[in-house]
């Protein structure tokens, strides 16, 4: 029971974290059709900025400043890079952001070295929230989850309840019409890009302290975030939420499962054969947990190519 509860919480919170990063990605994608490869790099930048600033101004102010800084980086990327290649098409934009993600990773290595930096949860926040059997559950995980939920609420209300939200949604839905009505659509794009980047930066600043902050964190998370977008469906915020939670839970639960395909075959009466075959059949599910999201994605592509909540191809 304890195991179940802890895995459930871990999965949910990891899922919420994934959602924090993929929310911006999916919004930007839905709006501009740009798949921003550098999005996970914003997540990494958030962690590194917070680490750097945290040494001087304290933990929480550093997180706020890092979020703002990453948002600024996002605005610069949109204004001075993406907009320049817009005329060459989406593939070109994807390639450009890919190059940028490459450069950001290399710059981080240049300034901070190719190893994890010592960014950790401050002592006043590293206390157990509750005890589940012998396990002390860190309160910081719950704080991360709360921040993600808060962010989701704010974004949702902003998009559905304010004038700005109406303009943003109309710019997503019919950019040409919104422009004809006198709204500055390029500026809306720039702002959304900046906000999306800032959200990823916030996620990085918060999560970097708990997990490790290293130059590979962008690509490790980045691929997973793409999987979330594919599984969730094109540009759908709700789909991203659902897919994030699904993938979070899937990884959290599978780490603790020690069964392999051979055990399934034993149950079917062909266990010895499967064990003799070796290879895939004797791999424990716990060892495969990193590959499950990709398998889920392939499955989704087979049965529902538009994603869980996606409407169009």
């Amino acid at each position: 029971m304890d195991y179940f509860l802890v895995s459930l919480l871990n999965g949910l919170i990891y899922g919420l974290l994934l959602f924090m990063v993929s929310a911006g990605l999916t919004l930007i994608f839905g709006m501009m059709g740009v798949l921003n490869f550098a999005h996970a790099s914003f997540y990494m930048l958030g962690a590194y900025f917070a680490y750097l600033l945290g040494r001087y101004i304290g933990f929480w102010p550093a997180i706020v400043c890092a979020t703002a800084l990453v948002g600024l980086v996002g605005v610069v990327v949109e204004r001075y890079f993406l907009r320049k290649v817009h005329k060459y098409g989406h593939a070109h934009e994807l390639l450009l952001t890919f190059g940028l993600s490459f450069i950001i990773a290399e710059l981080v290595k240049l300034f901070f070295g190719n190893y994890p930096v010592d960014y950790h949860v401050p002592a006043m926040l590293s206390f157990p929230a509750f005890h589940a059997g012998p396990l002390a559950y860190p309160a910081y995980r719950l704080i991360m989850g709360a921040i993600a939920l808060l962010m989701f609420g704010v974004i949702y209300l902003l998009l559905t309840r304010t004038r700005v939200g109406i303009i943003v949604r109309s710019a997503i839905y019919k950019p040409a019409m919104a422009e004809a009505l006198g709204h500055n659509v390029p500026r809306v794009f720039m702002a959304v890009f900046g906000v999306g980047a800032a959200l990823a930066g916030l996620a990085g600043a918060v999560a970097g302290a708990f997990y490790t902050t290293n130059p590979n964190m962008a690509i490790e998370l980045g691929v997973l975030v793409f999987v979330v977008v594919v599984v969730g469906g094109l540009g759908s915020l709700e789909g991203a939420m659902l897919a994030s939670l699904l993938i979070g839970l899937l990884t959290a639960f599978s780490v603790g499962v020690d069964y392999s395909l051979a055990d399934l075959f034993t149950w079917l009466g062909a266990g010895d054969w499967a064990r003799r075959m070796g290879g895939l059949f004797t791999l424990k599910l716990s060892g495969l947990s990193a590959t499950l999201p990709y398998a889920l994605m392939l499955l989704i592509l087979l049965v529902r190519p538009s994603g869980l909540m996606g409407e169009k191809e």
Partner: protein, 427 residues
Amino acid sequence: MKIRRLLLLAAIIGLVLVPVLLSQSLINAAIQMLIASLFACAFSLLCGQGGMLSFGHAAYFGVGAFATVHAMNAFGGAGLLPTPFLPLVGAAMGLVVGLIAGWFATKRTGVYFAMITLALAELLYALAPHIKGWFGGEAGVSSMRMPAFGLSFGSNTQVYYLTLAWVLVSLGLLYLFTLTPLGRLTLGLRENARRLSFLGYDVHRVSVLVFAISAMFSGIAGSLQALNMEAANYVIFDLQGSAEVLLNSFIGGVTVFLGPALGAALMTFFGYLVSDMTHAWLLYKGLLFVVVMLFIPRGIAGLVQSVTADIRRQGLARMAPSMALYVAASILLMAGTVYLVEMLQRFFSQDYRSLAALNGKGWPPIAVFGSHWAPTSVLTWAAPILALIAGLAVLRLAHARWTSILENEEGVQTLLARDSAAARGQP
């Protein structure tokens, strides 16, 4: 056309003469260049001609390499095929895996396709170390090249000729493929897939075929790599490999058939040259890629094409001054960037930090390009920034001159056209 053929012939003769002219370590670099070129061309069959951007091509390169190593080890080390034919195994494996992966990936197009190829490669990368029987775990699988047909394949030179032969044949086949009906359909996929389906073609099937053929040639490249290294490790599936081929191809220019090969050869050669000198080689590569994406979207080959076309129209004499300005601007910009990056790299390196801490009194000077620079002096940082600013200014000037020449030409022609029309109107 004739010039192009002569150039091609000269290039082939040059490649054949490489082992006679170069040292052993350079021959090894040349082998790497050839393999990278073939891989880049295979990649851009899919992404340049088919318009399908793959972010996971290292997977097909990798399976080709592993299949070859296993084929070399087959029958107690005797080998499944004689050594020169081993790339056939890599090709077959690439084709099969390409068919399976392509069937999934080509279900979607555009950026979705890119993400699926990426996820497939990451899937393989995450899975490979766990399957020891196939991929040998962390240690990888190693093998030995067996003698065949009186050749020992012990020296670099023999491996070079084997690689050269395979690369030339493969490039030839890839070129011939562009002339076949399927090759023309590949272009159709890029330009307008919906129209192809209206014309009655099964777009999914065509895409899978193109994907598989691209994967097959990637498999040959991987196979040659395995033959050269006599080993394969699961790290080959890393995203780094997929990124490398993508960067190489686009820097070279995917719109021209041999552009990717050019890019890959140049980048591999520079990588070989500078990898001992700098830790920031990948950063330079990334910067170069972004500059190419922003300003010369058709890559080096496309740039060469358009420049030669302009020169032919305008005459070399008129274009030479602004070309010289361009070159000067590039040199200034490159010098500034390289100096700045190297300074920063050394300044932020752990060695330097501990040295400074040991020293106790401030920052010791940093050695870059044979001289020592004090990191606290203004000049140290002002020099590269001034170089960058000067470079940008010269670049602006060059660009203004170049465009004014081209515009003048067009202006003159419209004036002439108007004059002749007026002359005809009023006899």
